[in-house]
């Protein structure tokens, strides 16, 4: 899905029919049509090994983690900590202490905002984001600015939906304390050159948080190669359940941060006079967590480079097919894109498009995609968005095109 792949050799092609058999949802009919699911950027479908792991766990081995000496609790703890090591390898973190389980990307960003930024920042400090961020990577920083007096700066985008590097550089300076960037734009599919951006931010002494929600399911992510200080992503966009996500943070940064939420598991001792906190990573994991690692095994089993190449082919095909439709305007035409196509149809509001496509069994997202500043920039109230995952096919693209022709007929 990510365009700037640097592969030594082409990966073996993905057997997409076999992949589809691993996703039970594709047995579903929608309004009498086989489902065409083009909304993986909002939430991906669930893969069988994940469903089986969840069922196995809930049926046979559920207990609370880190709580009991009984057999089930020990097994649950082992599975939970095993998942942490699985995540560490998946993103090449240095230590399991750097992997904090959270509810999702949104919670991860809020954790950094409240635990890293809020205690440190003051009036005169600056937080730099880009104009294509998801609301989850805007609002937590606005809250920190209100709380600390720091100010928010925004690197603009161009008409293709790219962040011009010089515009980004010109907003970095000695006051920049933190830079928060999307790895891949959810609304437009733009892939940001985050490695270069991290290097530039570090040269000014700023720490960098990368919102990787749209990147991790579709490309190989190495947090150390990127130089990320913090990296956040969600399970439910990578074929795993909702309610689980990861905050990666460099150990020295996390170690110096105060806990964010209080409760069980994050403490060493509690008395009414004084509570001492647990070590990393438990310090940031109050309460009882959700547990699963099968999605990462599945993705690596397919070969993440093969998934990326497959999705990139679908992006190219869909881009070419939409370009042949007279009234479609593609919003977001960056040189480096993930398999996300945001578009409008002349004279037809995105919601009407969404309803007509749904009647044809084609599921797309319509609306502002939690990126209202992006919509404002392009002067549209909403777009329709088709986003692809490992299970999508060329036939899905043809079904999308024919559903769009149907919409044109209804609004002739």
């Amino acid at each position: 899905m990510v365009a700037n792949l640097s592969l030594d050799k082409a990966p073996p092609p993905l057997d997409v029919e076999a992949v589809r058999r691993d996703f039970p949802i594709f047995a579903t009919q929608v309004h009498g049509h086989p489902l065409v699911y083009l909304d993986s950027a909002a939430s991906s479908q669930r893969v069988l090994p994940v469903l089986r792991a969840v069922e196995q766990y809930e049926t046979h081995s559920h207990a609370n983690v880190h709580r009991g000496v009984h057999a089930l609790s020990q097994a649950a703890t082992a599975a939970f900590e095993g998942a942490r090591e699985r995540v560490r390898r998946f993103i090449n973190a240095a230590s399991v202490k750097e992997i904090i389980f959270v509810r999702g990307t949104t919670e991860a960003i809020n954790l950094v905002a409240q635990s890293y930024a809020r205690p440190r920042f003051k009036a005169g400090d600056e937080i730099l984001i880009t104009a294509l961020e998801h609301h989850a990577n805007i609002v937590p920083w606005q809250m920190v600015c209100e709380q600390t007096g720091a100010s928010l700066r925004v690197a603009p985008i161009n008409r293709r939906g790219e962040v011009p590097f010089d515009e980004f550089l010109s907003r970095l300076g000695p006051r920049t304390r933190l830079v928060a960037l999307a790895h891949v734009s959810n609304a437009l599919g733009t892939v940001l050159p985050v490695k270069r951006m991290v290097e530039a931010a570090h040269a000014h002494g700023a720490v960098v948080l990368i919102d990787g929600a749209q990147a991790v399911p579709h490309s190989r992510v190495d947090v150390r190669a990127l130089g990320a200080d913090f990296y956040a992503f969600s399970g439910h966009k990578m074929y795993a359940p909702t309610g689980i996500g990861v905050l990666y943070g460099r150990e020295e940064l996390l170690a110096a941060m105060p806990p964010w939420q209080g409760g069980g598991d994050m403490i060493l001792t509690v008395s009414f006079e004084k509570t001492t906190y647990n070590e990393l990573p438990a310090k940031f994991e109050a309460g009882t967590p959700n547990i699963s690692a099968a999605a990462m095994d599945y993705l690596e089993g397919l070969g993440i480079d093969a998934v990326a190449a497959h999705e990139q082919q679908l992006l190219e095909l869909a881009t070419a097919e939409l370009a042949r439709l007279p009234d479609i305007e593609l919003i977001g035409t960056a040189a480096h894109k993930a398999a996300v196509l945001s578009f409008t149809m002349k004279g037809v509001h995105a919601h009407d498009l969404g309803t007509i496509l749904d009647a044809e069994g084609v599921a797309v997202r319509t609306g502002h995609h939690c990126a209202m500043p992006v919509m404002t920039f392009f002067g549209v109230p909403a777009t329709a968005r088709a986003s692809f995952g490992c299970y999508n096919t060329e036939e899905d693209v043809r079904r999308l095109v024919s559903a769009l022709r149907r919409a044109r007929e209804v609004f002739a």
Binding site: T355, A359, H368
Partner: protein, 148 residues
């Protein structure tokens, strides 16, 4: 699922050529309606002569259902008094939310909105302008409503 039920000719016509669209001079009450999930936004301006809706116009951007509903609504309530407009609100609300039954004969062209009830995700599109009207008539000053 019949798209023709939703996108009837009356709806498509009022979407393509919305009536009473644009700024209203001399308005003495107005309200803004937002559907934040969709990005739909509607500004409704009303000129009241005592209790009577002398003129009404709307501005904003929305889908075919919300645009047509607003256009049909302005035609239907112009000339009515406040109480009559509120009665119409109740009838349209029932039309959009009750599962079946023939539309009230007094609804006239507004009956074209009955196809919306087969598409629950779109009911809020059709009702945005009506909630906005209710807010405008309830206050003599500007009001803002949201259908989310």
């Amino acid at each position: 699922m019949d798209l023709k039920e939703l996108y009837r000719d009356v709806i498509l016509d009022h979407n393509r050529h919305p009536r009473n669209f644009g700024r209203l001079e001399g308005a003495n009450t107005c309200a803004e309606g937002n559907n934040p999930l969709c990005g739909d936004r509607l500004i409704l301006a009303v000129r009241l002569d005592g209790e009577r809706i002398e003129d009404i116009r709307f501005e904003g951007r929305g889908c075919a259902i919300s645009t047509a509903s607003a256009s049909l609504m302005t035609e239907a309530v112009k000339g009515k008094d406040r109480a009559g407009a509120r009665q119409l609100f109740d009838k349209v609300h029932a039309l959009l939310t009750q599962p079946d039954g023939a539309p009230d004969a007094s609804l006239g062209k507004l009956a074209a909105l009955s196809g919306v009830r087969e598409f629950p995700a779109r009911v809020k599109c059709a009702s945005l302008c009506w909630h906005t009207l209710k807010a405008a008539l309830a206050s003599e000053t500007a009001a803002t409503v949201s259908t989310e």
